[in-house]
Amino acid sequence: MSGRERTAPAARLIAPGGAEWPSHLDHLGPHARPPRLYVQGRGLNSATPCIAVVGTRRPTGAGIEMAERIARELAEAGITIVSGLAVGIDAAAHRAALAAGGHTIAVLGCGLDIPYPKRNVALKDAIRRSGTLVTEHPQGTHPTKAYFPLRNRIIAGLSGGVLVIEGAITSGALVTARLAIDCDRSVYAVPGSVRNPMAEGPNELIRSSQAMLVTCAKHVFDDLAPSLVWPDSTNGRAKHNPELTAHEARVMRALDDAPLSVDHLCRALDMKPGLVASCLSQLEVRGIVARTRAGYAHARRWG
């Protein structure tokens, strides 16, 4: 075993009826209840509402952004983010939840000690430390194709609802959505452009009335946890928002949620490019503006 494994919290074996056993897993409809779970990291709490955030392994930039935004806001609102630790949407959701200081559960299709998927090994370690890893497979079990649908039933089973961000019609994310329907869980889907092949899955779920159309975290929150209170982040933001100079305020008004180029801003504002660039940096340093590869946009919490 590597040093990484030695310093990690010990794996626990939990069984149905035990104190930590998630009672949701007793209600999986036609699907078999897992006989036991191997768990590592933070303890599981059946009282905390969970949402599964799933999607394609090959998302678009917008898909990643959406997954991050919704996962972060839900995590901040106290909801646990469940996903499958795959690359793409899954990883984005886990990361966002960790970054927001929330709880995230990664359900694996292999043993706890198997470094899979390779690209997410660091993320797996981070979840081991501040989230929870869950699997029904003993240590040393390598992933095989057949394990993934089985893992998906645990993802759906642990959660009160499944949110599908992006996925083709054949995507495993849709398998999870169907499992969720079998288990009588809610399904949410973020719609996308009809030209985006990765939006076909969620669009189809919405078209066939299997999923509720959601466009932001609050939609999910209100349906999933009506008894909880949505944290009003706008008040907090107003306090943080420092006074802007006249130029900065102008730049701020010209900005949008979609990234804009410096040239566009110069043109729209008729300001010197050096001044626009300088204002944007100042706003970026204060966290009000985000720089993306495509240009500048309001930081996510703005507006």
């Binding site: 990643i64 660039a277 240009g295």
Partner: protein, 510 residues
């Protein structure tokens, strides 16, 4: 009898004097050249023999040994034909060897005795002056190039016979007019005001020119990256005479001036193709290494379009030359150094499909594809590019409207003023904000208190590394220089921060 003549060996962009001893004696007829000659030097035997016969002098089979000294220096090139032929004739007592003294001789012989132009005439003339020789005897077509160097005589000769008669005092060669200043190149009329829109990128180009910073242009296909890059030499300050001579000398060594000898006054603009080899880019090749594209771009601009399409090893080879301004090519015969102080302008698409951030077409790349596209670039190379700027595709208002903005001449005036401020600050004066050693940069860097606190916030908020901070300070210094301010203000720092590499804002999405 032993005769002596003098010629040169081109090593890198420099010419070194070579003494040629020719011993003609009795014995088995033969012709041996010693002193590390390459094949092209050894082949002089055939050319000189035919040329001597064509000039009407008898070739008597004798034992000939020619020694090119210093013996440890590799000699390459065809310019040894003429000095060898003259040494041979003097050694065989067919001409008087006395008048050869004090002259450096270069020239390639045709079999009929006429002279062909050679590479490196300007470098030869410079070596000639440095060594205090009387003058240079060279093919007539090389003479205007050599005559750019004052303080020496340049003797243009057309045939071997012509040269022999001049040595005998039968001909007066008179004065050679130095090569003219380069006629207006097509490039000179490419003006910055023709670039529509792109105010941000034009500003970035101005800052890059003013501080000697390398520039990265990121934008979708057809957004005008190449157009802007081609106009960068036009906003750099004009070259000094010394800089011109350096550029001309390298062009001369590369054999680029033989058909049109001239003093190169416009800054070079080189844009090697994406399939260029390491040797093609930094110099090398078989025999004695030739200058590469980076040396041909010395004092000018090296433009690498579609940076991600260049081979990675080729880009990696740029790192040391970018840092040092000189490229050293090690060969068994020794190390050859070419100067290569150039401004690097790189351009690339924002992603594989080219439309990331485009307002008219959606990008079809997955996050994974984006990462692969970016990861092809060498991080250390990107680290040496101070200014990164995005270029969006133009809207129809700009495409159809009249050209806008300032002319190259207006911008060049500001750039020249900023460069002058740097020349006063740094020692030696060629240093720029981009290339000055850290100690000198810091000595000339006075930050206002606002700038200092702004930087403090930026380090935390943007997770700025030490290197990132250093780059931002250099660019901020240039922005203040463009404005003519001795102090670096907060606005300068924040503008500089906006030019930092967006590699740092790569989302760590899987």
């Amino acid at each position: 009898m032993l005769a002596k003549t003098e010629s040169i060996a081109i090593i890198g962009a420099d010419a070194h004097l070579v003494e040629i001893e020719v011993d003609v004696s009795g014995g088995l007829p033969g012709f041996t050249i010693v002193g590390l000659p390459t094949k092209s030097v050894r082949e002089a035997e055939q050319r000189t023999r035919s040329a001597i016969e064509a000039s009407g002098r008898p070739w008597v089979p004798q034992r000939v040994v020619a020694n090119l000294a210093p013996g440890g220096l590799r000699k390459d090139g065809t310019h040894f034909d003429l000095p060898l032929a003259l040494g041979l004739l003097a050694g065989a007592r067919l001409i008087d060897g006395k008048p050869l003294e004090g002259w450096v001789i270069i020239g390639e012989l045709a079999l009929n005795g006429t002279l062909r132009p050679v590479r490196g005439a300007l470098a030869a003339a410079m070596a000639c002056r440095a060594a205090g020789r009387r003058g240079l005897v060279c093919p007539a077509s090389n003479a205007p190039e050599a005559a750019l160097v004052d303080g020496i005589e340049v003797v243009p000769v057309t045939t071997l016979d012509d040269c022999i008669r001049w040595l005998a005092g039968e001909l007066d060669k008179g004065q050679v007019a130095p090569a003219g200043v380069a006629d207006e190149d097509a490039r000179a009329i490419e003006d910055l005001c023709e670039v529509r829109g792109h105010r941000g990128a034009k500003r970035a180009a101005e800052v890059a020119a003013a501080g000697g910073h390398n520039l990265m242009l990121v934008g979708p296909p057809g957004s005008g990256k190449t157009m802007l890059a081609r106009r960068l030499p036009g906003i750099l300050p004009p070259m000094s005479l010394d800089e011109s001579l350096e550029v001309t000398r390298i062009s001369s060594v590369a054999g680029m001036l033989t058909d049109r000898p001239r003093l190169v006054r416009e800054r070079p603009f080189r844009s090697p193709h994406q399939h260029v080899s390491v040797a093609g880019l930094v110099g090398g090749g078989t025999g004695l290494p030739r200058p590469g594209e980076i040396s041909l771009a010395h004092n000018g601009v090296l433009f690498l379009d579609e940076l991600s399409l260049y081979r990675r090893d080729v880009l990696e080879a740029l790192r040391a030359p970018l840092e040092e301004g000189i490229v050293r090519i090690a060969r068994s015969g020794g190390v050859i150094a070419y100067p290569c102080r150039f401004a690097l302008v790189a351009a690339m698409n924002p992603c594989g499909c080219g439309y990331l951030g485009d307002s008219m077409r959606a990008c079809r790349c997955s996050e994974h594809q984006l990462q692969i596209y970016r990861s092809k670039l060498s991080g250390p190379l990107l680290d040496r590019i101070d200014i990164h700027v995005g270029m969006a595709r133009l809207g129809k208002g700009e495409l159809l409207g009249a050209g806008d903005g300032e002319s190259s001449a207006d911008v060049a005036t500001r750039v020249a003023a900023a460069r002058a401020a740097q020349a006063l600050r740094y020692q030696p004066a060629q240093l720029t904000n981009a290339s000055a050693p850290k100690a000198q940069l810091e000595a000339g860097l006075e930050l206002t208190s606002g700038a200092r606190s702004g930087l403090g916030m930026a380090i935390d908020a943007l997770a700025l590394s030490g290197r990132g901070l250093d780059r931002a300070l250099r660019v901020a210094r240039t922005i203040a220089d463009l404005d003519g301010r001795p102090q670096v203000a907060e606005d300068d720092v924040s503008e500089a921060l906006s030019y930092r590499s967006d590699h740092s804002c790569l989302r760590s999405a899987a």
